[in-house]
Point group: D2
Chain length 96, copies 4
């Protein structure tokens, strides 16, 4: 969203892989929504599925984070946007 | 999935609210998938969106967890399935 | 402190084991404090040690949590303090 | 621990602040150990104290992490140790 990041793009490879994984996560979320139509659903079965989705989302985030570190963070000193890069990252990593 | 939980159902109220929230989470995930079509996407913008979805999932899980505690866990001693109830819960709460 | 929990005590066995583990955690924290006296300390080595302590603390908390579930939470319906027990637990489990 | 990190030191300022905070965390851990001597200790009171220590440790880790990002990670491309720096960081951030 503007500023220092105009030329900092997520690599095509990571973008493609993240997209693929998110499609699968959407399917998983839809599956849980259907589970929730079942009147006899046991709470813990729903919690287990949500936990699996959280794990899958965490993997996508890790993928993008690694890409961001490799492609943008390690070169911030050269570009001269260290402060913004570090502030953004600390914000993202809060409670991660 | 059988055993002690056959008669332990997620309450209709919580089931309905969880379903509603998951529909919205599905929409959010679809939104991120579309973001990932954009070649100029900045990594941190994707990470922020994923983090928001993680927060929303955490809220659904908290809702169901509270319901499970109130409706099933606090009465396990009466039913006599303390061991299963506690083991399941500890499994779910790992790294939560 | 006080109120419904006056008669709800941590079992001697868990209390003893938790105490033992916390003594070891204190030693670990002291070790990190000494590491921090070293001018040539590498950040990541400090972060790794802190992460190990976080893991050890998480184990103590899991031990006490399991004990609390088994000894107090599953019998809340019988005692009639479900609301307090559940509210406390949800507070403790936030961001866990 | 050798290798690329020989010249990468935690800044004196952060080292001092982290040390100060760890001394206070050690005191807090000792306080919990003493709480655990009390036979009438309520589980949830112990869990709350452990959670407070976890929060305090998380703050120290955030402090050191920010320092590491600012002082070492953003200049990895210049130094030429991007791969090690990123691998270490991803390891540290797992389940954080």
């Amino acid at each position: 969203m503007g500023g220092h990041c105009d030329s900092l793009r997520l690599s095509d490879r990571t973008r493609g892989e993240a997209r693929q994984r998110l499609l699968s996560i959407r399917g998983h979320v839809e599956g849980i929504t259907r589970m929730l139509d079942d009147e006899s659903l046991y709470c813990v079965d729903a919690l287990r599925q949500i936990k699996a989705v959280e794990g899958a989302l965490h993997k996508v985030a890790s993928l993008i984070l690694r890409s961001h570190l490799q492609d943008h963070v390690v070169s911030a000193a050269q570009r001269g946007d260290t402060e913004e890069i570090v502030d953004e990252l600390m914000e993202i990593l809060k409670y991660r």
